[in-house]
């Protein structure tokens, strides 16, 4: 692993240990934001810019705010509890199993990996000839998988409309309140 990635990974581990040890939940919510930013930095260094962007927007932005919203409904201090062994063992075993699972994966950036020989060569060679879009990723998302992308957009739009209706009624309620104040 290159040195910079190694340092970032060590920082990430330190952050997570601090989050687990903290009793002040507000500080813990802040530190989960830091962990997300670190993960996003690692993803960028691994060339996964889109994943990094999602991680930063959701992890550091939205979920911190969600944690704070939940905190405003509960206590800001974690209850004092003695450390329990069984959950630690289960988490450690799950982590060990996941790491064991990565041993069969191809090395990072390996050009001989299966995924680089399934469809990629054909798409790289044929895309521009077939549909005249120079950017291959855009061509796949918007043309070859156009219906799939359209479905995703519909799902996200529906979710957004649902959340807007649940939270604010698209501004209808606010207008009602103002009307009551005037009358």
């Amino acid at each position: 692993m290159p040195p910079v990635e190694l340092l970032l990974m060590l920082l990430l581990i330190a952050t997570v240990i601090v989050v687990a040890r903290l009793k002040d939940l507000f500080a813990a919510a802040m530190l989960t934001g830091i962990a997300s930013l670190l993960a996003a930095g690692l993803f960028v260094l691994m060339d996964a810019v889109d994943v990094a962007f999602t991680e930063a927007a959701v992890g550091a932005g939205v979920s911190t705010v969600l944690f704070l919203g939940a905190l405003s409904l509960t206590s800001r201090r974690e209850k004092q509890e003695r450390t329990r062994i069984l959950p630690i063992l289960i988490v450690a075993a799950t982590g060990a199993a996941l790491i064991y699972g990565t041993w069969d994966m191809p090395a990072y950036g390996d050009p001989d990996a299966v995924i680089h020989h399934h469809l990629a060569p054909e798409l790289i060679a044929e895309t521009e000839k077939k549909i005249h879009i120079p950017n291959i990723v855009t061509a796949i998302l918007a043309s070859f998988r156009g219906y799939d992308t359209f479905g995703e957009v519909v799902v996200i739009f529906t979710a957004g409309v649902g959340v807007a209706l649940l939270l604010g009624g698209l501004g209808l309620r606010r207008r009602d309140e103002r009307g009551e104040e005037e009358s």
Binding site: L7, T15, V65
Partner: protein
């Protein structure tokens, strides 16, 4: 040059993390997280320019916006204790 720049940024990241962990006040932690976001932006910018991928700067700019908005939300929570209520009356 790449290694030196990245090492400097990681060191400041570590200092910001220490401040966020130690506290002691809420605003120390908020400022530490905000600064950590800035360091992430710097990290992406340095990595982008020194490895020949200057288009990553767009991503860094968007991170800046997310960081700013997130800091505003957190400060609002720290000041009012909630995120949703209309606080115009509390201001007066």
């Amino acid at each position: 040059m790449y290694l030196a720049g990245m090492a400097a940024i990681v060191v400041t990241m570590f200092l910001a993390l220490a401040r966020a962990a130690i506290g002691p006040t809420v605003f120390d932690r908020i400022l530490a997280v905000n600064m950590f976001g800035t360091k992430t932006v710097l990290l992406i910018a340095v990595a982008g320019f020194l490895t020949g991928r200057p288009e990553w700067l767009d991503l860094a700019i968007v991170y800046t916006l997310v960081n700013f908005t997130g800091t505003l939300a957190v400060l609002r929570f720290a000041r009012f204790g909630n995120l949703a209520r209309d606080d115009r009356k509390a201001d007066q």
